[in-house]
Amino acid sequence: MADTPLLSIRNLSVSFATSRGPFRAVDGVDLDVSSGELVAIVGESGSGKSVAMLAVMGLLPWTATVTADRLAFDGHDMLALSPRERRRIIGRDLAMIFQEPMSSLNPCFTVGFQIGEALKTHLGLDRAERRVRSIELLREVGIPEPERRLKAFPHQLSGGMSQRVMIAMALACRPKLIIADEPTTALDVTIQAQILDLLVRLQRDNGVGLVLITHDMGVVAETAQRVCVHYAGQQVEMQETAGLFRDPHHPYTAALLAALPERASGRILPSIPGVVPGLADRPKGCLFSPRCRFATERCRTVPPPRSGPELGLALCHTPLVGGVPQRRTQAA
């Protein structure tokens, strides 16, 4: 990429202090997002997708230790920022949308008040300007009768409406980057389609960068330009969407795609045996090795290297090409 990316992450790791010792929830994640780009992060529950993005936002609890070689947003080093400066950026240039729309809105205040609050703190608009802008925002996210909805309390809205309000709040200060953490998981498919339409339109028309966290491969296929696959806290593969679905390079990605019922041919799905390793059974070598069809002795004992971009940056000793593991000829 020629221009500097909006968000640039290198080797981000997060570990939590637990009663049984440190737990690495995110382990060496790299990510670049440019303006007007939609990057999806997929992975199973507990693979550290949310924690990685919360680390970018600086929203993790004190038990978390965040380390990174680089964590830059729009030219600011997020790790070196004072809390005050970070608060100024977060919410204005960098916004986040959460999974549970119902619990992300404060039930005690009206929708209008909550949108207005963001406008007041970050943009310093006065009352009348705030009202005009709020109505404009609600109309933009497709809420009918925005004037009336301003007075509504969150419990008077359905899930889809609340999620639209969340998006309107995220958009309030025209952010450069939006991180959407499973924005449609709690919604029905027909509502999900509306919300995804809205997000994609915003990203395309307004040139915002969008990081979409999800575990639904269908959503990824239909929206994203680039996909990061997370497994047990590690980023195991990153590719353009079309390439990832056509020719996955990491065995986990391949197995994940094969396990989708809509891609299966027979009655029995090619499932991945076993479960994601937890704190107690974290393998020494490749974290996926206990469940991998292609695992060798080396995979079980030696942590895998990262492949080049032509192999989807796959974190694997023997990345797949066309479903066949490639033995490395020379040490990279």
Binding site: E44, S45, T190, Q192, E222, A242, L257, A259, R263, L269
Partner: protein
């Protein structure tokens, strides 16, 4: 055609919901006029959005709630009208697996006790025999004998769902009602549980009523599909007929809204306006008319009956008796 193991005739359930202190309670028709026949070893999938009455139907089928009206036959016997003793006898024939694997197991009960409990309360087997049968069922669903004395919190979501399945099958029911059994599971674990369900259906001869909102999963599992909207069946028929040529505009919208894990797929996307109407005052006429792209004058006035059109039953005035356009002719989704 073999005799159905389960037959539902015009099942209806209405709830009274208290609205404040002084106002009269409102009534919600959670399910109205659902009929179907379920053949032995077959799978009927029930799909629909949140609030369409899928769980309410599941509760009636498992006899947790008596239906408000309508009849339910299990192995030919009417259980809706039956007394408590008869219902008890048929209890072992219909069992259920729930959506949330974290909430459907008693946290203070060991796995072994949970699986043995149906045997304890429904049969007079000795404790050794109960244990033997529980262990056998655990092996079948892929749990190990030493899991017997562990508590649910020591298991992952997929394993808990296996435990729930073992518990439901230990009485050897003829029918298993699965209320969103894989919605809470990750893709890789979901495949394991679906495979288990397929295997068990073959080896234990159970029929499934499979409630889900995931069309990919439904297409994989179902023989017959019933699409529900606001408590009513809007389309019901063989899986291939429905997936290849959906007739009801709601079914079509549902299918086009379901994301497909294939970036090259091109298809027409019908983005529905609005959301599910409030069940307290459903629209007059066809319940789908406020969101329907094909809405006509007649739809606002008259409720369309469930009629046979093009190899399935469909409740729509606009549906034609000819094969419709297939939604699989795809166009760019969000390009």
């Amino acid at each position: 055609m073999t005799a159905p193991v389960m037959e539902a005739v015009e099942l209806t359930q209405t709830y009274e919901v208290a609205r404040g202190f002084l106002s009269a309670p409102a009534s919600v028709k959670a399910v109205s006029g659902i009929s179907f026949r379920l053949a032995p070893r077959a799978t009927l999938a029930v799909v629909g959005e949140s609030g369409s009455g899928k769980s309410t139907l599941a509760r009636m089928l498992t006899m947790i709630e008596p239906p408000g009206s309508g009849a339910l036959f299990i192995n030919g016997a009417d259980v809706a009208e039956a007394d408590a003793a008869t219902r008890r006898r048929y209890r072992g024939e219909v069992q259920m697996v729930f959506q949330n694997p974290y909430g459907s197991l008693n946290p203070r009960q060991t796995i072994g006790a949970a699986i043995e409990e149906p045997l304890l309360v429904n049969t007079s087997l000795s404790s050794a025999e109960r244990r033997r049968q529980a262990l056998e069922m655990m092996t079948r669903v892929g749990l190990r004998a030493e899991h017997h004395a562990r508590y649910p919190h020591m298991f992952s979501g997929g394993q808990r769902q296996r435990i729930a399945i073992a518990r439901a099958l230990v009485l050897r029911p003829k029918i298993l009602v699965l209320d969103e059994p894989v919605s809470a599971l990750d893709v890789s674990v979901r495949a394991q549980v679906l495979n288990l369900l397929v295997e068990l259906q073959e080896s234990l001869d159970v029929a499934y009523v499979f409630v889900s909102h995931d069309l990919g999963v439904v297409r994989h599992m179902a023989d017959d599909v019933m699409v529900m909207y606001l408590g009513r069946a809007v389309e019901r028929g063989p899986r291939d007929a429905i997936f290849d040529a959906p007739k009801h505009p709601y079914t079509r919208a549902l299918m086009s809204a379901t994301p497909i894990a294939d970036p090259g797929a091109r298809r027409e996307r019908i983005v529905l306006e609005g959301e599910l109407p409030s069940p307290f005052n459903p629209p007059s006429g066809c319940p789908f008319n406020p969101r329907c792209p094909l809405v006509m004058e007649r739809c606002r006035a008259e409720m369309p009956p469930l009629e046979r059109k093009g190899g399935r039953l469909v409740a729509c005035w606009a549906a034609q008796d000819t094969p419709g356009p297939t939604p699989m002719q795809r166009q760019p989704a969000f390009a």
